[in-house]
Symmetry: C2
Subunit: 343 residues, 2 copies
Amino acid sequence: MENRTEIATLGEFGLIEHLTKNFEIQNASTIVSVGDDAAVIDHFGKQTVITTDLLLEGVHFDLMYTPLKHLGYKSIIVNLSDVYAMNAQPTHVTVSIGISNRFSVEALTELYEGIYAACEKYGVDLIGGDTSTSKKGMVISVTAIGEVAPDKFVKRSTARKGDLICVTGDLGGAFLGLTLMEREKRIFLENPNIQPNLEGEDYIVGRLLKPEARRDIIAFFEQNNIMPTAMMDISDGLSSEVLHLCKQSNLGCRLYEDKLPIHERSRAAAFKFGLDPTVCALNGGEDYELVFTLKQEDYDAITLNEEIAVVGYMTDVEEGKKMISRGGNLYDITAQGWNAFQG
Amino acid sequence: MENRTEIATLGEFGLIEHLTKNFEIQNASTIVSVGDDAAVIDHFGKQTVITTDLLLEGVHFDLMYTPLKHLGYKSIIVNLSDVYAMNAQPTHVTVSIGISNRFSVEALTELYEGIYAACEKYGVDLIGGDTSTSKKGMVISVTAIGEVAPDKFVKRSTARKGDLICVTGDLGGAFLGLTLMEREKRIFLENPNIQPNLEGEDYIVGRLLKPEARRDIIAFFEQNNIMPTAMMDISDGLSSEVLHLCKQSNLGCRLYEDKLPIHERSRAAAFKFGLDPTVCALNGGEDYELVFTLKQEDYDAITLNEEIAVVGYMTDVEEGKKMISRGGNLYDITAQGWNAFQG
């Protein structure tokens, strides 16, 4: 058994001190950080971007197969992804944690190692938060703050008819990773002597447990002077997100099944599980890729980037929201992504 | 039975739309609000203040005696209180809610009525959040954003030896309200036919269920050109907060028992429950008053304000942190406030 220090031995403030003492400030705009009623940030001539996400045990993560360090890392990434989706640069995060006393200080330290690793990698300062006991289950609430030059932010509601629909990276991997982990968990619960078999599945497991946010794409836009007309990140699945873009921009769309970017490891996994890779790419969530729309004249500029695929285009609202299948048939796009209120 | 609409009938996005559609923006700096990946705030020439608080059912609130509207109101107030404690003006909040399906849309609407009432009263815009199902228990996470002119914010670490220690309003009321509600809950659970007896206890019940944040005090400072040397809000109890000021400023202190502001209704309730009013004032939390330190030469300026009491002064660190009792004895101040990690 590893070291176990009860959280009660430190107390709330001792705990915060313990968890934050080694963290160094990376942004000159951070004026007051952890340890006061609130943090203070300087923002001359820039606009502030704010986003927040709540992660609940048993709903958003399962500690049976989610290492705490990965969970901490991911809790930051999902928020940074929302900031990049505004075409902004994340600069600061606050992290609030609710935990029951089944967790030790060592466990929490591991969680914070992941949080700090993500903050360091993305140049973001942790500037505050709240730590509390919970009756049952772990709660993680992260708020990310970013900055963007005035009029450079990109909303969801500003796509135009004829714009190209583009997707970064590849889709469906995280959902297939989740499917694999849930299957291995069931097998383990039935017979705890059977060790999980994740051989050859590093890619989809990594997509689930260690997602990254697409900072590179925002940098690419900046370097090439590209402004998407609308953008959002893919957390609930491409179908769901494209329907948001259509609704908020009051447009329709066409997606091409054969253009959806799907990794060969995801395809292989889908085949193994008897799932349709297209359905996984459309409805699987948590890939944290970006979907954005672009003026047609910017097409040449984005072909430079292998991480970007054109998957369709925006239409008049009357033309509906449809996918053109490999066989040339038209299907309605429906949001079957993970719904927080089903069941 | 009242109307009950299952949350599943709206879905997450329908729910957010339902809850936010009637809310009007109050701050010109709000550029993008609810409904995108992140909100955008303009902040030319001001500094941004950020704070966040997590409220968990069964830990921070008990729905047996907390009306949802009051809970929503309070969840905003506790965050605004932290912003005022920086000598800043709150401008924006994000609210994330995790709820199980035992709550209906009507219940959530009530919660949001309280949230909106607080936002309107304090001139704050709700600009985003996250709504999710939870396995069990309600989770509320609020982040408040405020602004302050450069070099006007007040930290905890900048008190000086000889500074006066001041407290706003009165102390111990919320704790006595909690004691009353817990007593009535026990009686009700033993015999559900007995109705709660809250007669004559409006004051302490109000202190618990409908706290306000001290915007008036920050306005008073501004109007009278007063800058506290250090400040924080009283959420865990005066003892605990004064020890924070001492620790972060590397000083000691003297408090006078007979100067502690205690409302006559709180005194009466303490007497009824067999509790020492001084202990309630020192260790009871959740009053959301401010404690601040002040240069001695500012004493005359604050005597104008009946809502401010001078309760002691800061000393060298070597002199310890002590209270002078009515009888003239010296007692060590210890933090016996509510500790999130006890038990």
